[in-house]
């Protein structure tokens, strides 16, 4: 079609330019114009192919190119002036610089925006920010980072995304900044951040190695654990207590169907064909059942989603959805689950603990004041209670030309002062710092949410990222969600589908490039 079109352009062009010359009887002029046309088309074609070929460096990756953002390249050429000569820390040391920040639409981002004037006054750094809804935030962010032009300097990210961004050398490692006393405030106190949360942003870039190893790629802003948020009115209606085990949850959820009239049901859980379906309630139960997503065998990453424990807990989860979940479960994102809880449609949500804050705050929903929080149900008697976690963090673009100024931004908005302010004056739940969880003002604030503090204390020691880090995370978990949908909708039985899923995942992870 393109050739046809170019041909027709050429013919039309010849007709336009040829007429005056024919009148004068000189065909050489026509030929000259025809030549011009051909040259123009050749130049256009060359431009197209040059653009195609120059967009990236082909020829495979360079050996040993995995360690991105090493201290040697942590300071881009032409970036801001060096630290003060005496090695002491000064918030004003990069005064006058301007940084770009990309934020996801979230209460954590709102807290940052609210305190930007204080940061700018303290540091003299000007902050330009843009805010994007979560639906297309990561599409935009990935595209921006892929441009490798240093824009944005700082961005919000989830920890799972770091497993893609760090091997691609999109993010700057932060240990070199933390270790430098001229760049990091002596008040920063990294040890005040919960280890389980901070470790979520550490990884050594080896697929299959757990989080908490290797370099630090981001600083946490806040996090969510996955627990039971229940409606006390619903449980009281049948004289029940929050369930302690997964089997109790299924039985109780089934009893609660219709507890508040037509359309009301027992337990809200996410169900869309998305990775986001797997990480809250399902992964929490999955990990507590003793199942694992991957194991390393003979140096290879091997999917274990077809292990007996994995199949068993998947069957149980499907049973929970079928007996007590929403009928249109495959349409359920966190938003539907949270809204149903607040609207009095769902009696219990097995999802993020912050549902209790979002829906339970005074005036936030119809059921505000009736919501309580309890630890996630255990799968086996006597086991320790823990949960999978989701961490929102801020990271630095490895291509940033203003890394030191960006670092000041990062430490200010993950520092003690801002975290406490966010937790007491804004909606930064859950705060990442132990000192905030001991602050009387914060404790007073969360006391209005029954069970919130107790649940946090009960699970925090066993709360961590339960997934195995690897760059195909979004691929494998999205396929996992599709498998879960097949099982719940009865298209396939759990054993067959999970075995097929394991095969599909193994094919995908075989394609991970490690060099």
């Amino acid at each position: 079609m393109a050739a046809q079109y170019l041909g027709s352009v050429y013919n039309g062009w010849s007709k336009i330019v040829a007429k005056p010359q024919r009148d004068n009887g000189v065909s050489s002029v026509k030929k000259r114009y025809a030549m011009k046309t051909i040259v123009l088309l050749v130049v256009t074609a060359l431009l197209v192919f040059t653009a195609a070929c120059s967009s990236g460096k082909s020829g495979g990756s360079e050996p040993g190119a995995t360690a991105s953002g090493s201290p040697e390249n942590s300071q881009a050429p032409g970036s801001e002036s060096a630290s003060p000569a005496n090695g002491s820390f000064d918030w004003k040391q990069y005064s006058g610089q301007e940084i770009d920040v990309l934020l996801n639409q979230h209460p954590y981002a709102e807290a940052i925006i609210a305190r930007l004037p204080e940061f700018e006054k303290l540091t003299g750094i000007k902050v330009k920010y843009s805010i994007t809804p979560e639906e297309n935030y990561f599409d935009k962010l990935t595209t921006a980072l892929n441009a490798r032009n240093g824009n944005p300097d700082v961005f919000m990210t989830g920890s799972y995304q770091l497993w893609e961004y760090a091997p691609a050398e999109y993010v700057q490692e932060l240990d070199s900044f933390l270790k430098d006393p001229s760049k990091t405030s002596p008040d920063y106190d990294l040890n005040d951040i919960y280890k389980g949360i901070l470790d979520g942003d550490r990884w050594d870039l080896v697929p299959g190695h757990p989080v908490g190893t290797g370099s630090l790629w981001a600083l946490p802003l806040g996090f969510e654990t996955n627990v039971l948020v229940y409606n006390k009115r619903a449980l009281d209606s049948i004289g029940a207590q929050p369930p302690k085990t997964f089997d109790e949850l299924i039985a109780l959820g089934e009893k609660l169907n219709g507890w508040n009239g037509d359309g009301s049901y027992g337990v809200a859980v996410r169900g869309t064909r998305s990775w986001a379906t797997i990480h809250p309630g399902y992964m929490t139960a999955f990990s507590m059942s003793g199942a694992k997503d991957f194991e390393i065998q003979d140096g290879k990453l091997v999917s274990k989603v077809d292990s007996p424990e994995a199949i068993e807990i998947t069957k149980k989860f499907a049973e929970l959805v079928k007996k007590a979940g929403p009928k249109d479960w495959t349409n359920y994102t966190w938003y539907q689950a949270s809204s149903d809880l607040g609207a009095g449609k769902a009696a219990i949500a097995f999802d993020a603990d912050i549902f209790a804050i979002f829906q339970g705050s005074k005036g936030a929903s119809k059921e505000a004041g009736n919501l309580g929080t309890a630890p996630p149900p255990i799968v086996k008697e006597g086991q320790a209670v823990g949960a999978n976690e989701w961490i929102w963090s801020i990271a630095m673009n490895n291509a940033s030309k203003k890394k030191d100024a960006a670092w000041l931004f990062m430490q200010y908005f993950t520092g003690k002062e801002h975290t406490l302010w966010g937790a007491t004056q804004a909606s930064v739940f859950n705060p990442i710092r132990a000192s905030v969880w001991e602050n009387p003002d914060f404790l007073k604030r969360i006391a209005e949410f029954p069970g919130y503090e107790d649940t946090f204390k009960a699970i925090i020691d066993n709360t961590s990222i339960k997934f195995t880090p690897q760059p195909e995370f979004f691929n494998t978990t999205t396929e996992w969600a599709a498998a879960l949908q097949d099982i719940v909708t009865g298209k396939s039985d759990a054993e067959t589908r999970m075995k097929q899923l394991a095969k599909d995942i193994n094919k995908r992870v075989e394609r991970i490039r490690t060099e």
Binding site: V17, R273, T330, T478, S492
Partner: protein
Amino acid sequence: MSSIGKSGETVQIADLAKDRMDTYRVPPIPFMRKARPYLILAPALLLTIGILIPFFISIYYSFTNYSFKYKDYSFVGLENWTLMLKDPSFWHSVWVTGQYAIFSTGAEMLLGIGVALLLNQETRLAKALRMVLIFPLMIAPVIATLIWQLMTNNSVGVIAHFLRSVGIDNFVWGADPKTAMFSVVLIDVWVYTPFVIVLVLAGLRSLPKAPFESAMVDGGSAWFTFKTLTLPMIKPLLVIALLFRTMISLQEFSIIFALTRGGPGDTLMSLSLTAYNEAFTYKELGTALPYMLILWIFVYIVSHYMIRYWSRAQKNASGS
């Protein structure tokens, strides 16, 4: 080398030749006239470049392992294409894309023609409905899908509430693999049928009255008039409507994505959705592009034959 001039003077032949050349020299072309062809072609050329650059880049990247997850990429030949063609999920996505296009376009054409014939009257109701029926076209498909999602939500949806009141409690629309295709096609039909109505109605209202009056005088039935007069005369417009709807429904993304993200399971994973997932969820541009290019080939083949058919229909309708 010399010659004798009229006055008997010797004139250089070269000068004579120069004078003769001056006589035949092409007069200088004014600047604007020179620039005219370039100016006329400029928008088309820019547009073509704007289309061709991404198109050729896409073809190039489909032969590489380009990924947002890695810093470098290399040429992998036909690997992405062979992987795709060997993958059963590719053939499933072709099947889903075809099903969606046939069901949605078919329903829209039938409904569109029927409603347009009903509205082609000068009653007050027809006049009012002609305006009202265009409303869905003014809503972005993704917004329309969200509205439908809310209306069919089993807990709070107005349609779900109505269905419950008539004893239907287990109809879960896009959440059930058995009814998912029906649900997305229904939304597509709701959004796009007015497009067909508008086109067909415009055709109907531009038809000459004389042949229809003659048919009436001769006692031709309504079906006979429709079959032998109306249909052949509006056929070019019907083909245009069919062409647009087929092309757009083959590429459809927003309705399926907003309602089910391709689920439940892989039920609605069309070519567009698979390509989106590969490119933006899995960040594998190299494996995503063959899906988009195959879709482009399908759309091109279908539209090519439809345009040829439309040319014939146009000639027949005009009697030439």
